[in-house]
Symmetry: C2
Subunit: 327 residues, 2 copies
């Protein structure tokens, strides 16, 4: 008989996004043992989108030895873009998942698999995974941010996600650092997301390249002169190869993030800040600069002592996050 | 025999400021039964400043019937400007109390009175008093702000002050809403305190009055043409009498506060916001405008439903706050 994979402390973590569903089997130490992926039908019928989720889970389960029963798992943890209600497990109306409006996702999945099911938003779940198993292990006042095409944040106190009154807490990416600043995708001016998420970095780079009429930047070569192809990764790559303009741009982004984190530190007094997402990887070389800059942007006397760490989970943040909800 | 005042659930609350110490006897329902005041020796020797505190307490106790013993009280709660350590009861180095540097105030007071003694910063303590007995009674996610010569804030979750990792949480007055904004007293640009505390309102009014070269504003008359005498109270009085320029200025202040509270709401998702302090009284007529403006400055879908209330405690916020620490 084949050896079971994982055991009764193993959890199924599911990361539901606008384009794909990723499921994983996660052990009690946060290690991801198996993966499965499925395209998402984000604009389809509610039940078709649910089917994408269950197909991903079934595909994961199909990798297990035939004799292994589902009841050997502790539960299924789902994470998805908000807004959603973590108390009731209902997806409210996420812009990236138009398939679901007030859809009782957790209850539907529980009905199918007869396992406990939890649901939370992706940044909250990832924050919890980092606290349980990752970069924030052992810390009690965790501020987590993921910087990619948007900026998500999650707050974990005493190993529990801080949800606030309605479950909408921890939307730090839409805090304004300049009320006269650029308009964010959310409609309000000067959110940190409008300054420092991937698209904002790319737009800044394109504008700067256009303004200097310069082909001397490596960024120009990396996109073969097609400035519309510049992304935040282009800026990161050029910086890694010593491009001065790319360095200037990232330095400006670091300045915006420092202002923002200063605000967060003064309000929350965290004992660690964890940064994940694609842009965080580009910025990792600047973490010390952010830390040393913090005291200029907050009154917390120990601001520069707060560790700033790269997230442990990269592309698997959602799977680990989902699993952490049930751990 | 004279009837005792208060009973074993009564508490001594002490508000220690840069110029005075105010002590009060507070009953178990947050009612202030007796008051005493004493000038503070903020720039003196540590023991002289301690003496000012004990003199205020002794003056309070002297108002009690002779037969009433100190052990009939639940404790002594002290509040003072920060930074201080609420865990150890040590005053660290408040700019307004240069008399004390790493001074173990709570322990000293406990030695003298043989009662339990608690210490916290004034905005945190006032936030707790509002939650226990005042405008935020029955709420679980309380954001409190006091707007006067500065802007203090306090956060109370589940009826406990949120202190963060080092006790420095809840310094919301120094959150930046414009990183290119005016320099705050704390040294950083664009703190909400630099936009909306009393001195900022007064400075804005003086600048506007000077710019328009106008004696048509009632503010001009209220200070008999001496613009240097304009305060936030002048603006409030003129507005109450229908002065258009005063209304314009307060409307701008309300805009800044709305941006700031939007940031707070997105991070904390409170179930109530309470505003106290002299400037809050001036702004009370604008509370609905702030509430209705919030959805433009945060992504929280229920932002406009969050009640915004005037603090219950006015000048007695510190006494009630101190008492709340021991309740």
């Amino acid at each position: 008989m084949t050896q079971p994979i994982g055991n009764e402390t193993s959890i199924i973590g599911v990361d539901i996004g606008g384009t794909k569903v990723a499921a994983g089997l996660v052990d009690g130490n946060g290690k991801i043992l198996l993966h499965a992926r499925q395209p998402m039908v984000a604009a389809g019928e509610p039940e078709d989108a649910l089917k994408a989720v269950t197909t991903a889970i079934d595909s994961l389960l199909s990798q297990l030895p035939a004799a292994q029963a589902k009841r050997e798992f502790q539960g299924i943890g789902l994470c998805a873009p908000g807004p959603l209600d973590p108390q009731t497990g209902v997806v409210i109306n996420p812009p990236n998942l138009p398939c679901w409006r007030n859809f009782p996702l957790a209850a539907k999945v529980a009905d199918i698999y007869h396992l406990p099911v939890k649901l939370d938003n992706d940044a909250n779940a990832a924050a919890l995974a980092e606290t349980r198993w990752g970069a924030a292990r052992g810390f009690n006042y965790v501020f987590y941010t993921t910087i990619g095409t948007g900026i998500g944040t999650g707050i974990v106190f005493d190993r529990r996600i801080y949800h606030g009154h309605t479950g909408a807490a921890g939307e730090g990416g839409h805090m304004t650092i300049d009320f006269r600043g650029p308009i964010c995708g959310c409609g309000k001016p000067g959110c940190i997301e409008a300054f420092a998420a991937g698209p904002a970095i790319a737009a800044r780079a394109r504008a700067r390249l256009a303004a200097v009429h310069s082909s001397r930047s490596l960024m120009h070569d990396l996109v073969q002169g097609k400035l519309e192809d510049v992304t935040s990764e282009t800026v990161g790559k050029a910086f890694a190869s010593g491009d001065a303009l790319a360095g200037d741009i990232l330095h400006e982004i670091v300045g915006f993030l420092t202002v923002w984190l200063g605000n967060v530190v003064d309000l929350l007094d965290p004992d660690i800040i964890v940064m994940g997402g694609g842009v965080a990887a580009v910025l990792e070389k600047f973490f010390d600069e952010i830390r040393h800059g913090l005291p200029q942007w907050c009154v917390n006397p120990r601001a520069s002592e707060i560790p700033l760490r790269m997230a442990h989970y990269g592309a698997d943040a959602g799977i680990a996050g989902g699993a952490a909800l049930c751990a």
